[in-house]
Symmetry: C2
């Protein structure tokens, strides 16, 4: 019986090609989010993104249909990261306060990273109507998880009684604001920010005995 032809195909297997396509989509998003964060969404063209990847704009269009689709994918990843971290924190054992502390810490860290920063810099009106509705729904979902954990803590006595909705907005505001002032080249590390903000929100301004 003749041996089957043995050759290393430069096209790779079906799985290789799928993985390669995914890697390329990822590279487009990673290049885009950094440029958006650095220069702003409006000031960044797909030519800029292509240039960073040493390809041409038509190559980018092979993976994404528009700059808007790319922006939405960036904020989707950021919000998914926060949502997953919040949902995971919400399933932890212990009292509500402990779950909330885990949530605050994880959320703060994400707000110092590329996709978390992009969420903070993107306003509703930069997205197309259909993406905008999804963007808002994802934000509401995160707020609902946060508010739920606050309510649980108020119910089990680990968090001081108050308006859970107002508490959740107060916490989310502090966390979302990180994007506006965080400087990766500054003296505060992401861990410093997450620890310090968690401590201030937990203990308040008035010294504890």
């Amino acid at each position: 019986m003749p041996q089957p032809v043995q050759i290393v195909s430069p096209w790779g297997s079906k799985e290789d090609r799928a993985r390669e396509r995914n890697d390329k989509r990822d590279a487009v998003i990673t290049a885009a989010v950094r440029l958006f964060n650095l220069n702003g969404f409006h000031a960044t063209s797909l030519d800029d993104v292509a240039k960073v990847l040493r390809v041409t704009k038509p190559t980018i269009y092979h993976y994404y249909s528009s700059k808007d689709e790319i922006l939405f994918e960036c904020v989707r990843r950021g919000l998914n990261g926060i949502r997953d971290a919040a949902a995971e924190a919400a399933t932890h054992g212990g009292v509500g306060l402990e779950r909330l502390q885990i949530l605050i810490h994880a959320y703060a860290l994400i707000k110092t990273r590329d996709f978390g920063i992009c969420v903070g810099r993107t306003s509703d009106d930069q997205l197309r109507p259909e993406s905008r509705a999804k963007f808002r729904a994802m934000k509401r979902e995160i707020n609902d998880i946060l508010q739920g954990v606050v309510s649980e803590g108020m119910a089990d006595g680990s968090i001081a009684k108050g308006d859970a909705r107002l508490y959740a907005f107060t916490i989310a505001g502090s966390l979302n604001w990180i994007t506006r002032w965080y400087d990766p080249s500054g003296s505060m590390t992401p861990e410093d920010i997450a620890d310090g903000m968690m401590a201030m929100l937990t203990d308040g301004l008035v010294p504890r005995e």
Copy 2:
């Protein structure tokens, strides 16, 4: 001697005319800030502003040279309001914590009002370069006052020791975020928000004995 001519001039005195001009400039700004807050800056035209005031666009141009100038005047008023409230709180007697509480309360109230809301909805890149520089300088000034009061409280022992810069950003984030969720037709009044947020930031999440 003949009597001087007695007639009520429909042009009024010089002072009347100056006051009238001021009132008209104010009316333009008040109409504009409400439309910007309601429909967004980009979606609002000077024709829309003129229509609300029952005049034509050329009349608006008699008072302001461009929509950009009007937007900057709106955010300038909002930031001036916060800066003045912060500066006034900073001069109060008592310990740093008390001054900070007065500051937080006043700042929160302004963030529920037209010009305070407009500041929160305006991003740097919506302003022209020269206005943007002023906008940033005013925000820095507010942050410096806030951080100064926090530092004073840490020094006099009324505020727990920590990183005053991080504390100031944490507080500013909660306050600035009000713009994003405050609903004038909702159940929380501006006073509820100011009181509740001040209480949470002061006492923290963990119940006090």
